[in-house]
């Protein structure tokens, strides 16, 4: 097994953006949907279209991302979607409070007389909820594939994090391949001694305990490495003065455009919801007509 970063250099608009821009834009969308509590698909859909466009512009190959997508879709459909359809809770109270035609009942505890009614309202809520989460997720998914791991520390520093925090982040990304290699070597060495990673036997506790031969050597070696790194950094007077950073980040016009777009989306959502009262949950007439007839 080989630990590799998902990041590849691609000549795309997304990768030409400053990493700060991408993180700030991601948070703008998250806050735009969550702070004013937007549940109206008329607002969610255009934002979803922007997120999807940015995702497609990242030009990530399907074979790279299919595992991540499988995880997210299973989660969205089976946990969020089914929960939304069955309970209708989690969003605004209007989902379950408004009068809505019942489509059918799901028998869960029929003998106790507890059949869950599936209403048009709950169904529309589940669709809204999935799309709302997808809008945020498709901005988050491309980050590991399109953001250089070496730039995270600098990006957080330029976003206002302290030298210590930024350096920790930078150092962690640099340590990772070394520890991944140590872990691989340890796994191979233990296998050579007869350790069977694929068939851990015994009860639950025993199975977890038997992971010790893989974890202990790597962790203990890393603590020894840490002391050497601390000595090296102390000798170079780390922490006595403000640090300078080799990588510099500068905003280009495209970054200002994206930051402006993020701010505009956030402000628009706030104004629509709090100023005009638009953005709350409602079931459009066409959807009700589609399911139950007019």
């Amino acid at each position: 097994m080989l630990v590799t970063w998902k990041y590849r250099l691609r000549d795309t608009f997304i990768q030409r953006l400053d990493p700060r821009t991408r993180l700030i834009f991601l948070f703008s969308i998250i806050f735009a949907l969550t702070i004013p509590e937007i549940w109206d698909l008329r607002i969610i859909l255009p934002i979803f279209a922007i997120s999807l466009t940015l995702y497609l512009m990242a030009r990530i190959e399907w074979k790279d991302v299919k595992r991540g997508w499988a995880f997210i879709l299973v989660f969205l459909i089976f946990i969020v979607g089914i929960n939304g359809v069955l309970s209708g809770r989690g969003g605004p109270s209007s989902v379950t409070n408004i009068e809505s035609p019942i489509l059918f009942y799901v028998p869960i505890l029929t003998s106790f007389g507890w059949d869950v009614p599936i209403t048009v309202s709950k169904l529309w809520f589940a669709i809204s909820q999935i799309l709302r989460m997808l809008t945020m997720a498709i901005l988050a998914i491309p980050i590991p594939y399109t953001m250089d791991p070496n730039i995270y520390g600098t990006a957080f520093k330029r976003m206002g994090a302290s030298d210590n925090v930024s350096f920790t982040m930078d150092l962690a990304f640099r340590f990772l391949p070394t520890f991944a290699r140590d872990f691989t070597i340890t796994v191979d060495a233990q296998r050579a001694r007869g350790y069977e990673m694929e068939s851990l036997k015994g009860g639950l506790f025993e199975r977890i305990r038997r992971l010790s031969p893989l974890i202990i050597p790597v962790v203990m070696q890393s603590t020894v490495t840490g002391e050497e790194v601390i000595d090296a950094m102390d000798l170079r007077a780390f922490g006595t003065n403000k640090r300078t950073w080799i990588k510099t980040l500068t905003y280009a016009p495209r970054d200002y455009f994206m930051l402006g777009l993020g701010a505009a989306i956030f402000i628009t959502c706030c104004v629509l919801k709090w100023g005009l009262g638009i953005g709350g949950f409602f079931v459009p007439d066409f959807f009700t007509a589609l399911l139950v007839g007019s």
Partner: protein, 182 residues
């Protein structure tokens, strides 16, 4: 072995925060790729024991940074994306577990091991509760789903791993630290 103030944040915390994060990332990735079989939707992440151990050994800052950055790294390696609230939840898990660090004098002593495991479980509870409850605002799930669909499996899985592996790590660390002399 363990002379320190709880909230010190110097070179040692920077380095061990980074090491803890890298290890947490590697082990999380390994579990994401080769999940350990478990019951229901409970998953076991041995990486959590490493995080709790680093927090107990080096303090709350190390726990916070190792948890936050480590979870980000694990998700990045697995290609799942960047979910700040789960990363922050993992960071809080380490931070709370690290509050015990100043009172741990002997990593082999039964009392200190119990303290580290106890604070570790408290950290798991706080961190996973934060992440699960934040999911209510992020994803619009209801409180029941947050508590029973997210928090309970995450808490149980992580608590079990903490109880089993943290003592092993602490005893191994005591031997390494005594050989190293600091």
């Amino acid at each position: 072995m363990n002379d320190k103030s709880t909230w010190e944040f110097g070179t040692r915390q920077v380095v061990y925060g980074a090491i803890g994060a890298a290890l947490y990332g590697v082990f999380s990735w390994a579990t994401n790729i080769f999940p350990l079989p478990a019951a229901g939707n409970v998953t076991f992440r041995p990486a959590v024991a490493v995080l709790i151990f680093f927090a107990a050994a080096y303090g709350p800052w190390v726990g916070l940074l190792a948890g936050f950055i480590g979870n980000t790294l694990g998700d990045a390696l697995s290609g799942w994306g960047f979910y700040w609230h789960w990363s922050l939840g993992n960071g809080l898990m380490g931070l709370v577990a690290g509050l015990v660090s100043a009172s741990i004098k002997d990593f082999r002593a039964q009392g200190d091991i119990v303290k580290a495991v106890g604070w570790g479980i408290a950290g798991v509870a706080v961190g996973m509760l934060f992440a699960s409850l934040t999911e209510m605002f992020m994803g619009g799930i209801d409180l029941n789903t947050a508590l029973f669909g997210y928090f309970t499996p995450a808490f149980l899985g992580n608590a079990v791993v903490t109880v089993i592996l943290v003592p092993v790590l602490m005893i191994a660390f005591a031997a390494v630290a005594s050989r190293r002399g600091r």
